[in-house]
């Protein structure tokens, strides 16, 4: 599965520009589905029919955070703004990939004092991107206003731990791909939504379930960690402790029945798991929960270090255990 994670995370596809990742997902799936479609906002929906009447919706968002070019100055430097939650401190000095054109992020500073000041109160207005152009014309021939870019970073296999950009949430996409590949004849019908524009505010997931009307929805997404030096004290989640069953975050409270069902399954099957409470953030589960008359929803998270950076780290065993747990879930008789 590591090869799939490498392929998916190295694709550059920020929110609103997901065509390349959607195509790659279909390629990797290699026909392991009963059908698929792209909906009007670009969500990729792939399904496999089951024997029961129940419909389970799995969701992982295929977009990643990025930047968009808002201006090009006379000397060919680009100005950018964030697409999703991009930390400007992480941007400084990093490389950006604009559909194959590489840029380097620089920071303004007319004196040492103002350079320090800019760094102290860092915002996008004092950052610029250098694509190696000598003037405006040369720059706009490479990258136009309105072009989207992402961090330029490579996948690294550190053994049990994997590092790449866009683990958020290509790791969820990889889990769903693996589910579709491994489940030959699921008991329940499964609909895998590879959602768009999650990072902008759950845009794709808000509409993806409209025609499906699932009986239950599970978002698979990354979550924060508490196991690095002086990490957030109130967060218990650790890499390697198994899939994190989300109790709540800033945008939704997981359905209790689903949560208990998943816990029991994990206990019975001997799959390690941990419980998650995230005091902030949100996942697509929040959108499904509010769909039409409401869909019972929950999130299964993969604990990830350095989220929204070019080097997000996950534990490979957590990923495999997440696939195992969800596979058993999809084959269980459910009463939601």
């Amino acid at each position: 599965m590591k090869d799939i994670i490498k392929i998916l995370t190295e694709i550059s596809a920020p929110s609103g520009r997901e065509d390349s990742i959607a195509e790659k997902i279909l390629e990797v799936l290699d026909g392991n589905f009963d059908g698929y479609r792209r909906d009007k906002l670009g969500n990729l929906i792939v399904w496999k029919e089951g024997k029961s009447e129940k419909k389970i919706l799995f969701d992982a968002h295929m977009d990643e955070i990025g930047v968009v070019v808002t201006n090009v100055d006379e000397n060919g430097f680009l100005r950018i703004e964030a697409v999703g939650g991009v930390n400007p401190y992480t941007l400084v000095g990093s490389r950006i990939n604009f559909s194959g054109i590489t840029g380097v992020v620089g920071i303004e500073g007319e004196s040492l004092k103002s350079a320090k000041e800019n760094l102290k109160n860092l915002g996008f207005d004092v950052l610029f991107v250098d694509v190696g152009a000598k003037n405006k014309e040369e720059a706009t021939n490479k990258v136009k206003i309105g072009s989207f870019g992402t961090y330029d970073a490579k996948f690294q296999d550190l053994g049990d731990r994997l590092v790449s950009k866009a683990m958020d949430d290509r790791i969820g996409c990889a889990v769903m791909i693996q589910l579709l590949k491994e489940m030959k004849e699921p008991l329940n019908s499964i609909y895998c939504v590879f959602a768009v524009q999650e990072e902008l505010g759950l845009v794709g997931a808000t509409v993806a379930g409209y025609d499906i009307e699932p009986d239950v929805a599970i978002a698979i997404d990354v979550t924060a960690h508490g196991d690095t030096p002086k990490a957030m004290k109130r967060i218990p989640m650790k890499l390697g402790n198994g899939p994190a069953l989300k109790i709540m975050d800033g945008y939704s409270i997981s359905d209790r029945k689903i949560l208990e069902f998943l816990e029991n399954l994990a206990e019975k099957e001997g799959i390690p798991y941990q419980l998650e409470i995230l005091p902030f953030g949100g996942t697509d589960a929040g959108a499904y929960q509010r769909l039409k008359a409401g869909v019972p929803s929950a999130t299964v998270s993969i604990v990830t270090r350095y989220v929204h950076s070019p080097n997000e780290m996950v534990d490979y065993k957590d990923v495999l255990n997440t696939v195992e747990l969800l596979k058993i879930f999809a084959n269980s008789e459910i009463s939601f």
Partner: protein
């Protein structure tokens, strides 16, 4: 252009009835269907003359403007107000307001300069009061009520190159839609025109209208901030007056659907219509609430650049208005059909 008539009408969010009545009365003989929904959106339909068309296209513009509401009548006869939508209180001292259905004139008061302990005191809503010339609560109560709406008292003025007035956001968009209704365009598909309510308080009307119309594609017509102040470097401007309609690729909470965005840009390029990019991503429009309705509605945004929006007086270049209108006509008549 109907902006000269639309701009002076008072129509703060939730109180759009005068705007709605004016539009209704003006367009009623020019459309195939016209109705008002439960929340107060006005929806008009122009049918395509071609028999083989499929699909629905919709334009959206909001009728409401930012303004104020009277929250309390004080013992000294002065009024406390709160903003409806985003109005910077630093713009307010000394400005005139028209209050309530009786159009009572008021002046916004702030502590006189010689009484300010700190000359850099910034006005806040809690320190501002509106003076309607009454010395006692009982006198003021005869003229105004708690809950009365108030708007800036600003005339509409037209010059050779530009227009000055209030509420260009988004009566400019309403005017564009009315112009499109009045033009006898060869529409390739049925076109709905949604004049929506309560945008300024959180995009409340548009999603409901979208749910009713169920369009296949929607375009939001807005006016957008110019921010082209001379003291700022050009690369910091959001848009520039005189450079034509501003096309949005992304704003708060939504990346404009690529198909719709490419359709707008490619048509403008192909037909040589001047346009500019909206070069800031802050702020949102009804496109966000429309896109998230039903099973998803691809929505785009086209705006007239405008200086000083959400303040008492905005400035719009007539050329920008007319080029925007031209772009819309070209999109409808000569743009490759987006619905398929």
């Amino acid at each position: 252009m109907f902006l000269n008539e639309l701009s002076p009408i008072s129509g703060v969010s939730g109180d759009e009835k005068r705007v709605r009545e004016f539009i209704k009365k003006t367009i009623k003989d020019k459309v195939d269907e016209l109705y008002e929904d439960k929340i107060g959106n006005l929806i008009a339909l122009k049918k395509s003359k071609f028999s083989s068309t499929k699909g629905k296209f919709a334009f959206f513009a909001h009728m409401d403007e930012v303004g104020f509401m009277v929250t309390k009548i004080n013992e000294d006869g002065k009024l406390s107000i709160q903003p409806i939508g985003g109005v910077d209180p630093r713009l307010l001292p000394g400005k005139r307001l028209r209050i309530g259905d009786k159009n009572i004139l008021g002046v916004i008061g702030f502590k006189a300069i010689h009484l300010q302990e700190n000359k850099t005191d910034v006005p806040k809503y809690q320190n501002l009061s509106v003076d309607i010339g009454m010395g006692k609560k009982s006198e003021a109560e005869k003229l105004v009520n708690v809950g009365d709406y108030a708007v800036f008292d600003v005339p509409f003025e037209e010059y050779d190159s530009h227009l000055i007035g209030k509420a260009f956001d988004d009566r400019g968009g309403c005017s564009l839609m009315m112009d499109l209704i009045f033009e006898n365009l060869a529409l390739p598909f049925d076109v709905y025109f949604a004049f929506v309510v309560q945008e300024e308080v959180g995009l409340r009307g548009s999603g409901i209208a979208a749910e009713e119309i169920k369009p296949d594609v929607a375009i939001v017509l807005e006016t957008t901030t110019a921010g082209d102040n001379p003291e700022l470097e050009e690369y910091r401007w959001a848009t520039h007056i005189g450079d034509g309609p501003a096309i949005t690729f992304m704003h708060r909470g939504y990346v404009v659907n690529k198909k719709v965005y490419d359709w707008i840009i490619n048509t403008a390029e192909r037909k040589n219509v001047k346009y500019q990019y909206k070069r800031r991503t802050a702020g949102g429009t009804d496109a966000l609430s429309i896109a998230k309705r039903l099973s998803g509605i691809p929505a785009g945004v086209i705006s007239i650049p405008c200086r000083y929006i959400h303040g008492p007086s905005s400035v719009m270049f007539k050329d920008d208005y007319h080029i925007t209108l031209k772009l819309l006509k070209v999109l409808l008549e000569e743009g490759e059909v987006i619905l398929s």
